[in-house]
Amino acid sequence: MSDELYHEKLVERAQAGRAHGRLDHPDKTATLDNPLCGDRVTVDLKTANGKVLEAGHRTRGCLLCEAAAALIVAQAPGSSTESLAGLADAVRDFLQKGGPAPSGWGAVEEFAPVRAVKSRQDCVLLPFRALAEALR
């Protein structure tokens, strides 16, 4: 993986994610702010029988934040809500403690360059924290 923060794959993921919006009638939703920069992320979920059926988002944030939200929207459907409950902690460990990418979330490796930029780690974590909050 490139140590370039804004590598092609991440930029493409963030830009593609802009096409997705919020869900019309989510049964779970959470909105979180980053007080330091004013960014705001909403994550919507439709769930049934302990599984995520559909995910949506609204992200007013930086490219790293957008890419993380886009990854959640792409990957969460099909996952059990139980398996997603600890995802934010696993991503935090990946960024801050050099831990592995969470099981089934190999694309989190795309954020590896953020490990070296402490001031931007919260940008990646914000959507994952919103997901955890929605599932709470």
């Binding site: 804004y6 920069c37 004013g38 960014d39 705001r40 930086c62 490219l63 790293l64 930029v117 931007r120």
Partner: protein
Amino acid sequence: MKTTKPFDPEACRAQFPILTEPPGGLPLYYLDSAATAQLPAAVLTAVRRHETMARANVLRGVHRLAEAATAAYEDARAAVADYLGVPDHDEVIFTGGTTASINLVAHSFGEGLGPSDEVLVSELEHHSNLVPWQLLATRRGVTLKVLPVTEEGRLDLERLPGLVSKRTRLLALTHCSNVTGAITDVGPIVAAARSVGAKVLIDGAQRAPHGPLDLPALGIDFYAFSGHKTYAPNGVGVLWGRRELLSKMPPFMGGGGMIAQVDLEAGTSFADIPRRFEAGTPPIAQAVGLGAALRWAKALDWAGIAQHEARLTGRILDGIGAIKAARVIGPTGLQGRLGVVSFAIEGIHPHDLCQWLDRYGVALRGGHHCAQPLAKRFGVAGTSRASLAPYNTDADIDALLTGLEAALKRFR
């Protein structure tokens, strides 16, 4: 008669070790002085000299180091008073910074306010000049009135008469916006305050680094600024206030140094100003650094600097103006402003832009700049901000514009 040398930007820059020998040998184009300005060698030398030759507590000991420290600390107060144009040195109170200075007034002056009183702030303020007043409003039931800003990012002074009344006790407003760079015309504010017997506090954090002041001529009552934005160490700031006001205000923080007499039975009486408001060991070396910084600054050719900074500001405004997707938040002209330019580029988040520019060695600030009500007013989550100091040169602007061009290719 003392004359100042005509301003030479390169000679000025050469006095800043972090700019002449940037860390890691990497290029550094520092355009974030509105957040923190760099230190000239004269200040570094003064702080080092103090810490190696006169380090001791002040106003306590009688040994020679204590005497030297006290003399240096009071000499710094004299330098600050001189920079502010204030004849009474005791009106200068050392604090931890602008935030601490404003909180001091909000607590101490605010102690005399209640539910029938109003304080006027504005949409343009840094949180440092907003939140202390919001806290006062909660604590004492004071009503906050808010002066709006114009489309150009200036205080809308035409709205003053409708917002100031006989209930108004204080107008707490910025001297220069840390976002838009707009300089406040203080005259109408003082006139409005005087018409109803209110006091005026001016947040000078952004204006103080740009040349000596004449506070008595401004006609205000309180002025606050920070060391770290005025070429001095952080951890020190200043509150200036009129003696007749400060002398009547109760202490804010209690502790050593601020008392006249402490008696468990008879109670405690307090020292005169400035000691009354300097509880505990003050930031001594930082104050010495601030004194050195303001003496260094006072000797500069500020008319020459204003011309130089205006030309560089014009280059930034022209460069941003040429980007179709960009929008300047603040005045787009050069009148009545300082070299602080905030802008938003559609589709590029300020933090992504600033992170990208860092690879070119360009230091900009991105975010809401601790002015969220202003960001809301202009409908943006945040902006990128370039801010100038006398040590900036055309090379800094060249690097910024090159980096912006590359960012547009990468992110849009």
